[in-house]
């Protein structure tokens, strides 16, 4: 397999990734065909991403037409969406050999009928690898069953072999939009009427911040302060009726660099919904937050509010750091690495370099949708950084790159915490999923409070590193 740098990438890019992956429109999906054959992935499959998206609809039921093991992915997605078990239901057809040999449509019908006893407004039927390979037609089954049930039925073919979890998010978003286009929803009014601009937010959950809901909340808050209305979120705790307001939104914003672009493209093509902030890195750190706010201010005719928010926010960060203390000794010019998804990984590079005075020497992105390779390269060029870049990194590639580059600090996850245990790398800041740090309160990375959260997490991990594991003598009391 030929390894060639992709357009827009430095010559140090592309370790372990072939041209097909870079030139393809989607790096994480089925079109990916890495040069390596042995993968230790950071991501789950399409079924998981689709389940995440479906479970973002409030009070829904997700039925996985799959063997029972795949239900565990749905359970994980349930947790990622902070779903409430008293109102959201998950079911599984638990396919066995019989259904793989003879087909599982009959079992699917029986399970949908059984679900009538649950009080749910909508059921998403998701398919795993097995039923798709043997040709179960969930679209036809849902069509046939619609008159027999008092909930809506939305089929989402999303077998794991179709791609990774980000591809699954895209598949589910497209399925949702197709469903909205083909059915009459409850009358909720036209989102474009009412004076203020209406905005649809896409793929907030394709974000490795373990409490990404706070990033979403920050966006909702700043839009409200600039006079815009969020007409729908695709998806998080989204009321069912909000789905039918999506086509009439004035604009959409994709809140991820990993998924959601195809849904935004679909909205633009079919309904003329304009996409805002498309080429801007997400709002991490002073510069990106400023750029984001200015762009939204310009779009919403709220330039003055945006300027005021920037001035207040920056002052708040500075003053807080003055009062609480800002640790500099470790960070200053420290060689650093980022191992993350594109949503956190790309914007955080500038935060590390510009705001925290680190020197990013390695960026391992475990995922990223079309355009993100170029976006990252632009960032590195602007910052004058000659960092090594790996797109579509797996655990092995990241560990090897960390060993070779030898940074002092790593922004990563619990996996990197383990991976560097035998390397001479002192600090791992566990900012991205998976992390064992429990957070009851959602913490944003975006915006000004987000900056303070990042600084706080970094300082806590820094302090933990230098807490001695030895007791040299015992106290006398």
């Amino acid at each position: 397999m030929q390894r060639v740098p992709a357009p827009g990438c430095s010559g140090r890019c592309c370790t372990g990734v072939n041209m097909a992956e870079h030139s393809g429109a989607y790096m994480g999906g089925a079109r990916q065909d890495g040069a390596t054959r042995c993968h230790d992935p950071y991501l789950r499959c399409a079924l998981y991403g689709a389940a995440q998206t479906a479970l973002g609809i409030r009070g829904c039921c997700v039925l996985s037409h799959s063997p029972q093991g795949c239900h565990q992915l749905v359970d994980a997605a349930f947790g990622w969406q902070n779903a409430d078990y008293t109102e959201t239901q998950t079911l599984c057809t638990k396919l066995c050999e019989d259904e793989i040999v003879h087909g599982g449509e009959e079992l699917l019908v029986r399970t949908i009928v059984e679900a009538r006893e649950l009080d749910v407004p909508i059921m998403f039927v998701l398919t795993a690898c097995g039923p798709e390979i043997v040709g179960d037609d969930i679209v036809a089954v849902c069509e046939e069953m619609r008159p027999q049930v008092d909930f809506q039925l939305v089929p989402i073919p999303c077998a794991g072999f179709r791609g990774d979890q980000n591809h699954g998010i895209d598949l589910a978003l497209e399925a949702l939009l197709r469903y909205v286009a083909s059915t009459d929803g409850p009358s909720t009014g036209d989102a474009r009427t009412g004076g203020s601009a209406s905005v649809c937010l896409i793929a907030p959950h394709a974000n490795a911040n373990p409490t990404w809901m706070a990033d979403l909340a920050w966006v909702e808050e700043i839009l409200a302060r600039m006079g815009a209305r969020v007409t729908a979120v695709l998806s998080h705790d989204t009321p069912l009726e909000a789905l039918w307001r999506v086509p009439s939104a004035d604009a959409c914003i994709v809140l991820s660099h990993d998924a959601g672009q195809s849904a935004a493209d679909l909205l633009a093509e079919q309904y003329g919904v304009e996409q805002w902030c498309r080429d801007l890195p997400l709002p991490v750190g002073f510069t990106h937050t400023r750029n984001w706010l200015l762009e939204l201010g310009r779009r919403l005719g709220a330039e003055a509010q945006a300027e005021a928010m920037i001035a207040q926010g920056e002052a708040m960060v500075v003053q807080t750091c003055r009062r609480k203390g800002l640790q500099q000794s470790a960070m200053h010019r420290a060689p650093a690495a980022v191992v993350a998804d594109a949503t956190v990984g790309i914007p955080i590079v500038r935060f590390m370099a510009e705001d925290m005075e680190m020197i990013p020497r390695l960026v391992c992105l475990r995922s990223g949708q079309a355009g993100t390779a170029g976006m990252l390269q632009d960032e590195l060029d602007e910052l004058g950084l000659d960092a090594r870049v790996i797109h579509g990194a797996d655990v092995y590639q990241s560990k090897m790159a960390l060993a070779e580059v030898g940074p002092e600090m790593v922004v990563g996850s619990q996996i990197e915490q383990h991976a560097v245990a035998e390397l001479d790398i002192p600090y791992v800041f566990r900012l991205v999923n998976p992390t064992s740090r429990y957070r009851m309160i959602d913490r944003a990375y975006w915006g000004y409070v987000g900056m303070l959260n990042l600084i706080e997490f970094i300082q806590n991990d820094w302090r933990d590193r230098y807490r001695s594991k030895h007791r040299r003598y015992k106290a006398r009391w």
Binding site: A30, Q32, D33, T36, R37, C38, H39, D40, P41, Y42, L43, R44, C45, L47, Y48, L63, S66, P67, Q68, G69, C70, H71, Q72, L73, A76, Y85, T86, Q89, T90, L91, C92, T93, K94, C96, E97, E99, I100, T111, E114, A115, E117, L118, A128, C129, G130, I133, V134, G160, F161, R162, G163, D164, Y396, I415, H418, A419, A421, E422, P434, S436
Partner: protein, 477 residues
Amino acid sequence: MPDPTSLSSKDRIAFHGTLQQLLGKVESGEMVPKLQASHAPPCKFWTAFQVINGIRHMAPVIHGPKGCTYSVASNYKMGSCEYRGVPLEPTSCTAQNEADVVYGGEGKLLEAVREADQRYHPDLIVILSCCCSGIIGDDVETIAEIAEQEVGTKVLAIRSEGFGGDFRSGYEDAFRALMGLMEPRGEVRKGTINIIGARQGPTYTEWTEDLDELVRLVRAIGIEINGVLCGGCTLEQIRRAPSAELNASWCYDWGQKLGDLMEERFGVPYARTGQPYGPAATEEWVMGVAEPLGLEGRARELIDEETAAVADELDVLRRCFQDKTALIEISEFPGPIRALSLARMAEEFGAHPIVINLHPYTVKERMPSIKFLLDEGQNPEVILTEGLFSLGSFNVSSSTQREVEMIAAQYDDAIYVGSPLRQPGVPQMNMTTITGYPQYGYAGIRNMARLVTSSLQHAARPRSRLFRQVLYGGEHG
């Protein structure tokens, strides 16, 4: 035993009888051994992975998409390695995509095995098939043979496609596959045993602390342990396992398959004993190991010493359980076989045990172990409630709480043994706190005396409003 018809809400009781009678109803088909659609245990692939994950320096090559791979890595590896203090080892796969499903992935698998060998330098490579590779018929066994010739590392294949069997078959097939790694029984290593039937460690019912107690006891009578299969064992320990003098299991249920197979193929005797809960079962377990090795004398001394050392705790347990009705509820925890072991222990201390909610599905899945326990004379009273069969995990949990409260109210001397997810208004032993482990052996007796004392001391304390509303929903507020 009260007449079940005396229960005020007898319509909530789905079964009331003995374990033997329940088994009869399951065998005759009168009670359908099937979990509802909202309840899905792991599939065969997950459980096969659990077993092989307990082998050191083993590189799995999962012939499937990324979703299956990351899911087991996340669920079984991250937590496990932190709990057990072992390094994070790889979980690699072929990342099957649509093209592999259409054209087959055997070539890719072979390349992946080669890469895994070069990357990880493992002692053992295990190929696990998933639904995709199973359905399209990729011949994982042949690839394993070819790869082994090439790479010079032992390569094992396990057919573990998720639809191919229930969770139990994954454990059993993985243990069976391990037999292929074992060398013929050579010169018997006197005074050496294997502990078998373990999986990677902190699974729902398997705790390192219990294994540690077993290890402490056998070492105290001068027995060496060749290895704990598969709870952190090495390939070398598996190879020479047939030359151990005896197999003993940490749990009869999980050990019996491998024990039977090794006895049949290699002639290794197997100590068939239940879980060592309470003094009698612990004595049986210790003597079950000591007698075949001719160490009865030392074992008797140990039992006498250990029993004397926990004399106070035994008094506490007798005093607390005497003439009580012990309600052992298992749909959430402690699991069916532990529940039966606890029932025996409660009876030993003078209580009348009632096992609540032993699902017919569990009876089917654990048929050999349940028959063994019946043969050993354990035939406790069993009650199944209607809530156990509800659709929806929250419905099951909230209904069961009400039903357990109702059952507990029928007795004026009940003590509840199980998970604090319930609070039926009677003294309750929390069997889920990690500070209560081990539960096995003499150390377990100490812990259980402490737990039962606490349960009686604090019996009158109400469930907090917070927990009640979180666990059972608004109606319980």
